[in-house]
């Protein structure tokens, strides 16, 4: 029986988190290890086994080439984009170009699309929720960085679908954090959400009003600015230091690089609470003379701050710009919320406080509030109570390409959705009979600097001198964020339209086959869990029985009746052992009852005689 409950998933660059609203109370669901966040890591073992989360992270060093981290940095991006080039240069896993200019990740000779990798993480989060609720979960709200473009959003949606989830809405991470902050508190406040996560930076300014209305005023960010970049600075420094001392480039060794990565992240986290720590990586590499070299370096908080100062500055610049876009003064912001692991860094808290001239709020949990907000939005959408309405904006401007490769904006950045806008364009060449409408997203005046969302051609135009045929272009964004574009020849009334299904880099067929595969994997995994449980139970009982055998044999040696019982017990134990070797769940389960009876009997015999 599927519950109608909607889970909220914060699909993070480094960690993910899942939450649900239970009896009106938003709650984070811990994983089986008791942790509230799960590493967004996926690995495939030598035996072809898929690992997700903590277990994938633990084996990352020994299996670096087959462990994927920070897949979010690649999702919905083109193979040739500078961001992908950049990310690939520092990754320990192998990537190739996919059939649709997308990125594919190679794990044990099998190619996976990025949404497929993210789907594995989402599936893990789903299982965590299902285990907790004791019922299947079908619907989810997933969060993405506010500054994600439509292609990245669509790819995330596809990942959800591959994971077998009905993604009822994609919402922005800072918005979600604000929801968890303001939900059910009946506030009237303007808040800024500074969200510095593992891979992305976002700033959103929202207004929380009466009737549970949350209105986003402005949002901006950088989808390639996060904790990973701070780690990278630290790694660079360590690599340089090591090179200076030993003249060896640790980057050439994937395993060393992975160890460095882990150590840098750990050191960064530690430096949030202590002023000095040490990176200690013994036997990091062998020298030419085959002697073991160790990396041992003390790192101070001041050094880390110095290394990441320009990154912090960049976030503050974006804050300044956003405030301007929102036509607000610093003093209009009545609360500043810090979200994302990076905001634990004291220097960041200080910088944000200084910029907004107010102490940031401690009211939200930096790792959990985004998932909580996603769960709240899901609850509000499907529930009947309607305690909350979110008025969101478009993070990027939408428009089309005009003569000369210019970007002509139709819907400006930070427009409240749903919305629609129209503009009239004319032909640019003599006797032009067709016009290609290229739908773009971005803020650059040059079209090629922006993201192409889709295209279509309006044909059958009247032959006429340039500038004469008028074409009316209408853009529409609905509440789900789906963009539709319509072009109409005002002369003939001919019309052409598309629903811009941003390209995630996957076709429908690919998605559905990936979905089935993911489902099969889930069944596999579920039955193996069952086997594991039965096996353990059977082995425990067998162990106990075998431990009691000598005693029981001794006691019942005199009677014929006793011999028979012992023979019977031997048969049962043998059968159980056989079933365990054959990994036959049904057979093991069958034997468990007999084993339990035998174990009780043995215990009884021993107890009576003592």
């Amino acid at each position: 029986m599927a519950t109608d409950k909607v889970i909220g998933i914060d699909l993070g660059t480094t960690n993910s988190c899942v939450a649900i609203v239970e009896n009106g109370v938003p709650t984070v669901i811990p994983n089986r290890g008791g942790y509230k966040t799960t590493p967004s890591m996926v690995a495939v073992t030598e035996a072809g086994k898929r690992l997700v989360g903590h277990i994938a992270k633990r084996q990352a060093i020994t299996n670096a080439e087959n462990t994927v981290y920070a897949a979010k940095r690649l999702i919905g991006r083109k193979w040739h984009s500078p961001q992908v080039r950049n990310a690939i240069a520092t990754s320990s896993y192998r990537t190739v170009e996919g059939p649709h200019n997308d990125v594919r990740i190679v794990l044990r000779d099998k190619e996976y699309s990025v949404p497929e990798i993210s789907a594995m993480v989402l599936q893990e989060m789903r299982v965590i929720a299902e285990d907790y609720l004791g019922a299947p979960v079908g619907k989810a709200v997933i969060t993405v960085p506010a500054y994600f473009n439509d292609n990245q959003r669509q790819a995330t949606r596809d990942a959800g679908e591959i994971a077998g989830l009905d993604i009822i809405r994609i919402i922005n991470e800072p918005t979600a954090a604000a929801l968890s902050y303001g939900f059910g508190r009946n506030l009237e406040k303007t808040v800024a959400v500074y969200d510095f996560g593992g891979g992305t930076f976002d700033i959103s300014i929202l207004e929380i009003g009466q009737n549970g209305v949350f209105r986003v005023i402005a949002t901006a960010g950088d989808t390639f600015l996060g904790g990973e970049d701070v780690d990278a600075r630290l790694i660079d420094w360590l690599v340089q230091e090591f090179k200076r001392e030993h003249d060896i480039d640790l980057r050439q060794d994937r395993m060393a690089l992975q160890r460095l990565k882990d150590a840098a992240e750990k050191a960064k986290c530690e430096l949030s609470s202590v002023r000095e720590t040490e990176v200690n990586l013994p036997f990091i590499i062998s020298s030419e003379r085959n002697e073991a070299l160790h990396l041992q370096k003390p790192i101070s908080r001041a050094l880390l701050e110095q290394l990441s100062l320009d990154l912090i500055e960049r976030t503050i610049d974006i804050c300044r710009q956003t405030l301007e876009d929102a036509e607000l003064e610093k003093r209009d912001v009545e609360e500043v919320l810090l979200v994302g692991g990076m905001t634990r860094m004291p220097r960041i808290q200080q910088a944000v406080g200084e910029f907004f001239e107010r102490e940031p709020s401690k009211g939200v949990h930096p790792d959990e509030s985004v998932a909580l907000g996603a769960a709240i939005q899901g609850y509000a959408l499907v529930g009947e109570e309607h305690e909350m309405v979110l008025l969101d904006v478009t993070p990027h401007a939408l428009g089309i390409v005009t003569q000369g490769g210019y970007f002509e904006e139709l819907i400006p950045q930070n427009t409240t959705v749903p919305t629609h806008r129209q503009k009239i364009f004319t032909t640019s060449r003599e006797n032009q009979t067709a016009v290609k409408i290229l739908v773009m997203q971005g803020e650059h005046e040059r079209a090629d600097q922006n993201e192409l969302l889709g295209e279509f051609i309006l044909t059958g135009l009247r032959r006429a001198p340039k500038g004469e045929v008028e074409i009316e272009v209408t853009f529409e964004i609905n509440a789900d964020g789906i963009v539709s574009v319509r072009a109409k020849d005002l002369d003939t009334g001919l019309e052409q339209s598309i629903q811009v299904t941003a390209s995630s880099g996957l076709t429908r067929d690919e998605i559905s086959s990936m979905m089935h595969e993911a489902k099969d994997q889930l069944v596999d995994r579920r039955s193996s869990e069952e086997l594991e449980a039965a096996k353990q139970e059977a082995e425990r009982l067998v162990g106990e029985i075998e431990r009691l055998f000598p005693q029981v044999e001794q006691i019942v040696a005199q009677s014929d009746f006793g011999r028979e019982a012992i023979d019977k017990a031997r048969v049962i134990v043998d059968r159980a052992k056989n079933a365990v070797t054959r990994k036959d769940v049904a057979m093991i389960k069958e034997q468990i009852e007999g084993l339990a009876r035998t174990q009780r009997m043995f215990k009884g015999v021993v107890a009576k005689t003592i």
Partner: protein
């Protein structure tokens, strides 16, 4: 009375007189006939018919399937429309929600941003936001997530778009200033129209006459100070005088009773005072004295209004000045000096009115509200009869808003007549012809235009288009 009572109808933003007008529409009465029948002001009837049409309550019947705006005959497509639309598929909406959507959808066509959000004009940002949030929480599409809304979905989205526009305009300082200026212009125009309304002057004239009669009948009694202190101060005009005829003041009623006739007429001869031993001579002298008294009272009254007019001119209230002079003239119709003064004041008042119309029209053009822009450009053209630009803009707006093409043609022709060498006017006129399906006329206009500007690309392009299509 057509049966137009239904829930949907009851939610319409109509007042009693508009309702009365609606009830008289039977499909055969023309605009003029309706004006006569209802006794309502003609301008009011025209405005109300427009409003009823925009509400979808009436349509303009056509004799030969010409565009509906061309024929002045009315028919009731009537309120059944609003009522029957209730039975449309509304999916999972409750009846209350449907009524709200219906009523609000209708409101959108006529109301201001302030009226839509139900906030006063001086509402601060916070109040505007609160009102917006209240409405947004009712009609944001997420409130009806994955519900079957039928054809209400689109309507809800339109409502949400409009309230968002209202919020965005009113919470942005410059946009709100622009919008307020536009509304102020609209208000000023209405007040001016109201102040210049002939029927209002009629009442005041009657009052003046009555005062004359009063004072001539009883020389001992002081002239009644019957004029409301601010009756002529157009700046003090009521805020919503739109279609409200001059409220008959008690003084006016008194004047009517005294005069026993429609106002503005000549006072009846004074009743003859029966005197027991009265002689002809006595009667004559009585009459003479009476006339003298009347004459001097009349002059006194006229002088008073003239003074008022001059005062009004002095403080820049040209409407009040024009009105005061008009009243003075009604008392002394042959006074040329007065006539000149009145003419100057009237002209100045018209110029102000015209300016507000023009500003409104420009704002409306910018907001792509061509229907309203057409109306205001037409008003400008009516006042500035020699302004080619206004005529051309009016014709253009009419074409763009699918308005009255006949009127557009007249306006376009006038613009061409005023500035025959101006190519843009001829292009607009050609566009009117094309919209009306008269390519030969359009061609003629364009060919003439070509003589003045042989290089004009638009003219050549239009000519080619006409050649291709015929």
């Amino acid at each position: 009375m057509p049966s137009i009572v239904g829930q949907g109808f009851l939610n319409l933003p109509l007042d009693a007189r508009e309702g009365f007008l609606l009830s008289r529409i039977d499909g055969s009465l023309t605009e003029a006939a309706l004006t006569e029948l209802t006794g309502l002001d003609h301008a009011f009837v025209v405005a109300s018919l427009d409003k009823l049409w925009s509400l979808g309550l009436i349509d303009f019947a056509s004799e030969d399937d010409a565009p509906k705006k061309a024929a002045p005959v009315l028919t009731t497509r009537a309120a059944e429309k609003a009522v029957t639309s209730f039975s449309d598929a509304g999916g999972d909406l409750t009846p209350e929600q449907r009524i709200w959507v219906e009523a609000t959808s209708i409101e959108l066509t006529t109301c201001t941003h302030y009226e839509l959000l139900r906030v006063p004009h001086d509402a601060d940002k916070k109040a505007v936001k609160r009102a917006y949030y209240e409405l947004a929480s009712r009609c944001h599409p997420d409130r009806f997530f994955r519900k079957d809304l039928g054809d209400y979905k689109l309507r809800l989205e339109i409502i949400f778009g409009r309230i968002t526009l209202a919020h965005d305009t009113l919470t942005n300082r410059t946009q709100r200033e622009d919008y307020d200026r536009y509304l102020a212009d609209r208000e000023t125009a209405r007040s001016l129209e109201h102040a210049l309304d002939a029927s209002l002057i009629e009442d005041e004239i009657a009052l003046a006459e009555a005062t004359v009669v009063e004072s001539s009948r009883d020389p001992g009694a002081p002239a009644p100070t019957s004029i409301k202190p601010n009756a002529f101060d157009s700046r003090e005009a009521p805020t919503e005088p739109r279609f409200v005829p001059a409220a008959a003041s008690s003084q006016t009623l008194l004047a009517r009773r005294l005069l026993g006739k429609r106002p503005g007429s000549i006072p009846p001869p004074a009743p003859v005072e029966p005197s027991a031993g009265g002689t002809e001579q006595a009667m004559d002298s009585l009459k003479r004295r009476y006339h003298q008294r009347t004459e001097s009272a009349r002059r006194a009254q006229a002088a008073k209004y003239e003074r008022q007019g001059e005062e009004a001119t002095g403080r820049g209230d040209l409407v009040a000045a024009a009105n005061a002079f008009r009243i003075a003239i009604s008392l002394l119709p042959d006074d040329e000096e007065l006539l000149a003064k009145q003419g100057a004041a009237q002209k100045a008042a018209d110029a102000i009115l015209c300016e507000t119309y023009e500003r409104q029209a420009n704002y409306e053009e910018k907001a792509a509200n061509f229907r309203e822009a057409a109306r205001n450009w037409c008003r400008v053209a009516r006042i500035k009869t020699a302004d080619a630009h206004a005529h051309e803009r009016a014709a253009n707006a009419l074409v763009r808003s699918d308005g009255d093409l006949h009127q557009a043609k007249e306006l376009g022709m006038r613009a061409v007549e005023l500035e025959p060498q101006h190519v843009a006017h001829r292009v607009t006129l050609a566009n009117v012809y094309l919209a009306a399906g008269l390519p030969l006329n359009a061609k003629r206009e364009l060919l003439t235009a070509k003589q003045f500007a042989p290089q004009d690309a638009t003219v050549s392009a239009m000519l080619r288009r006409i050649a291709e299509s015929t």
